[in-house]
């Protein structure tokens, strides 16, 4: 009955990967540990392991994405799976074929996994509830709800630099309200035991009940960065200037843009992260993005290993029973 269990099978193993919320610290740690095994695959002359040979993975992208789709594709290929990329513009679904009809057609081609990106919150849950029992669904981002693989690659990057989660202060800066990345990160950080998770932004970009997610809210960037170990900057979507959420990019940068001076409030060994793509001069100064504390490109590299781990775990249950 409980929808909470939908991403776990009856033995508590990952069947889908839809949201971080509700997963245990053990599962998250298992993903991070497993991902360590795949970090060297990309350095070998033959960049493949045969874990998912013969399996078919469909990247079903209802929203444009280059980085996420590419790293999912590479991850699948390095696991030796066959990959099909399907990009569906919003207009083609508007032509009358329902999402469910489309899924049924793709299932008829005997695929094993859908990686889904969709503009509507809950789309991945919806699809997971309606796929055939042997098909796994990975959420590649659903509206403002969740982007759990991004959050896991961020946790992986943090762990590689900082080790123990239970002593950290982490600040997430920017448009929390509309960010699936932030929601997934907040769940992951809390589950992994980070004692001080902060969100920083103007009230218009902070969800009403943010403290209930387990974060401290700051409206002042310098204060929010004071003494933190990790700074996560979020991308500011241009359309936020409409709807009266912000006056201008200029003012946003003045208040919340990360400059070397503001970063100086964080710990000297703090790392700076960004899920990409960066709006230079809007949320972050180039001097920071390209500076010594930035681990932004490392996040991209780690994304492949972490996505390999998640795909292998969800599809590889008990040697891959049908």
């Amino acid at each position: 009955m409980s929808a909470r269990d939908i991403q776990l099978d009856d033995q508590g193993r990952l069947r889908h990967f839809l949201t971080i919320e509700g997963l245990s610290r053990e599962i998250l740690t298992e993903i991070l540990d497993y991902a360590e095994n795949f970090t060297t695959v990309g350095h070998q002359p033959v960049k493949k392991v045969p874990l998912l040979r013969g399996r078919t993975i469909i990247n079903l992208f209802f929203e444009v994405s280059t980085r996420t789709r590419t790293t999912f594709e590479l991850a699948a290929k390095r696991l030796s799976a066959d990959v099909l990329n399907i990009n569906i513009s919003a207009s083609s679904t508007a032509k009358g074929e329902s999402l469910l009809d489309m899924l049924r057609n793709l299932e008829a081609m005997h695929c094993d996994m859908f990686v889904v990106r969709h503009a509507s919150p809950g789309a991945a849950h919806f699809i997971a509830r309606h796929v055939a029992p042997h098909v796994s669904v990975i959420n590649g981002g659903d509206g403002s709800h969740a982007h759990p693989t991004q959050a896991m690659l961020d946790m992986f990057t943090i762990r590689r630099h900082k080790g123990d989660f239970t002593r950290l202060s982490v600040a997430i800066v920017g448009d929390i309200m509309h960010s699936r990345v932030a929601r997934s990160q907040i769940h992951a950080l809390n589950i992994l035991g980070v004692p001080d998770v902060r969100v920083v932004g103007p009230e218009t970009l902070i969800p009403v009940e943010a403290p209930q997610l387990g974060v401290h809210v700051y409206h002042d960037l310098a204060e929010g960065l004071d003494g933190v170990d990790v700074v996560i900057m979020l991308r500011l979507q241009r359309e936020r200037m409409s709807r009266a959420l912000l006056p201008s990019e200029h003012e946003y940068f003045q208040c919340y843009g990360l400059t070397p001076e503001k970063l100086a409030r964080a710990r000297p060994d703090a790392i700076v992260m960004h899920p990409g793509p960066i709006n230079r001069g809007v949320e972050m100064d180039s001097a920071v993005a390209d500076g010594p504390q930035s681990v932004i490109l490392e996040q991209v590299t780690n994304g492949i290993a972490v996505r390999m781990a998640i795909m292998a775990m969800t599809l590889g249950r008990a040697g891959g029973e049908a």
Partner: protein, 431 residues
């Protein structure tokens, strides 16, 4: 002369202050008497044994969408009148947002004809407040009233222009029509699909703040200080709205309100991980709101409980949460959900709950329904107050199977429904 006696039941008729064992005597579709013995010369041709059951006036539902005309793929007047009968509802009030909109006498007549042909329930309708519900031009309210509309409303469509709203209230008042208002500020509600609260924050769903409702309630109340209109607020969802309304009533304003039965039992938490059957408008709000609505019902600030029935075809709910159509199929759960407000430590007794389902909503509509007074139409709901049943969508009579109450064990089940003395529903397997 056809005659019927309903014997051995507990008669609950709040309009007449009755609650106790009695028989109900019916002749030619009207109530003749209620009491221990038949009136002189009354010979029942038929007798209906109601022992162990409650005999109440047929329920009066302030809001049920029957989907006809215009959306017959979801339901029809005939299919939903049958569902109403199974739920003990004998009078249904339709909002005007059919296709076409109820803004001409012709549409009213069509609805009345279809309902009479179906015969299982009485159907009344609200007329449009503005032409096409577009919020710009006043509808021909006098004409709609002549055709039989019992009030006017812009349904879920906003009237953006405050001047149009004021004029509409004034014009409706000139024709002695109650204006039924769904209070929701369209700008604050935006594209929201859940309450702006914990669940919206967790799931990244766009929120509708409680202030979308309170701002709209306050706006109407301020206009009513100048305009002598009668307003009924539909489907309140926020506790603060009840407080605003209580103050206005204390000041003597002619305002009333109803609440949908599901708002008294569900909160935003029931959405869980995107349960599309909990996609409602107004949205499910917090525990505090639920308690505020219940308190309003107890105090009498809110006088009626309605079903807010919105049957859907299955496709309408097969999409990601925000892309689904809001609303639940609710006719058959109205009575048992209302009965859950009685018993134990609950402040309402059975008669008080029945009042909020019968004579009180009838009063809002200005109808003489919802009572077993001698001379009244013999619209009767007989139910077993202790029968337990489990909600299974496939066993609903309604064509809409969209209910968030699947698997709930409810207490109280209708066994017979009479409209004008005629049995329009009889449960095949009385528990």
């Amino acid at each position: 002369m056809s005659t019927l006696a309903i014997t051995g039941g507990r008669v609950v008729d709040p309009a007449n202050g009755l609650d106790g064992p009695a028989d109900v005597f019916i002749a030619d579709g009207r109530i003749v008497a209620v009491g221990p013995a038949p009136p002189d010369g009354f010979r029942p041709e038929q007798t209906l044994d109601a022992s162990g059951r409650v005999v109440a006036p047929g329920l009066v539902d302030l809001a049920a969408r029957l989907r006809e005309p215009g959306q017959e793929h979801k339901a029809t007047i005939a299919s939903e009148c049958a569902a109403a009968a199974a739920g003990g509802i004998t009078t249904l009030c339709m909002p005007p947002d059919t296709h076409p909109v109820v803004d001409t006498a012709a549409v009213v007549e069509l609805i009345h004809q279809r309902a009479e042909a179906a015969g299982a329930a009485r159907v009344v309708t609200l007329g449009a407040l503005t032409v096409g519900l577009e919020g710009t031009q006043l509808a021909e309210m006098a004409e709609l009233k002549r055709a039989g509309c019992v009030g006017v409303s812009n349904a879920l469509r906003p009237v953006h222009d405050t001047l149009v709203l004021r004029r509409a209230l004034e014009y409706a008042a000139s024709h002695d029509l109650t204006v039924f208002v769904h209070p929701e500020d369209p700008h604050l509600a935006q594209e929201g699909c859940v309450h702006e609260g914990v669940v919206a924050t967790r799931l990244g769903l766009p929120g509708i703040p409680a202030s979308a409702e309170t701002v709209a309630v306050a706006q109407i109340l301020m206009l009513l200080e100048q305009v002598p209109a009668r307003v009924h607020f539909c489907r309140l969802s926020a506790a603060r709205s009840v407080n605003l309304l209580a103050r206005a009533q204390y000041d003597g304003m002619p305002v009333t309100a109803d609440v949908a039965a599901h708002q008294l039992h569900l909160t935003e938490m029931d959405i869980g991980f995107f349960d599309n059957n909990c996609h409602l408008r107004p949205p499910l709000r917090t525990r505090r709101d639920l308690e505020g609505l219940r308190a309003g019902l107890v105090r009498g600030t809110v006088t009626a409980i309605c079903s807010d029935h919105q049957p859907h075809d299955s496709d309408a709910k097969l999409a990601p949460f925000c892309e689904t159509e809001p609303g639940i199929s609710a006719l058959e759960t109205l009575l048992p959900l209302a009965l859950r407000l009685t018993g134990g430590d609950e402040p309402l007794d059975l008669a008080a709950v029945i009042a909020r389902l019968t004579c009180e909503p009838a009063r809002v509509l200005g109808l003489a329904a919802g009572t077993l007074s001698p001379g009244a139409a013999a619209d009767v709901c007989i139910f077993d107050p202790h029968a337990h049943w489990t909600v299974e969508p496939d066993r609903l009579v309604s064509r809409g199977r969209n209910t968030p109450f699947t698997g709930w064990e409810l207490e109280g089940q209708v066994t017979h429904t009479l409209v004008g003395g005629r049995v329009v529903f009889q449960r095949e397997d009385p528990p």
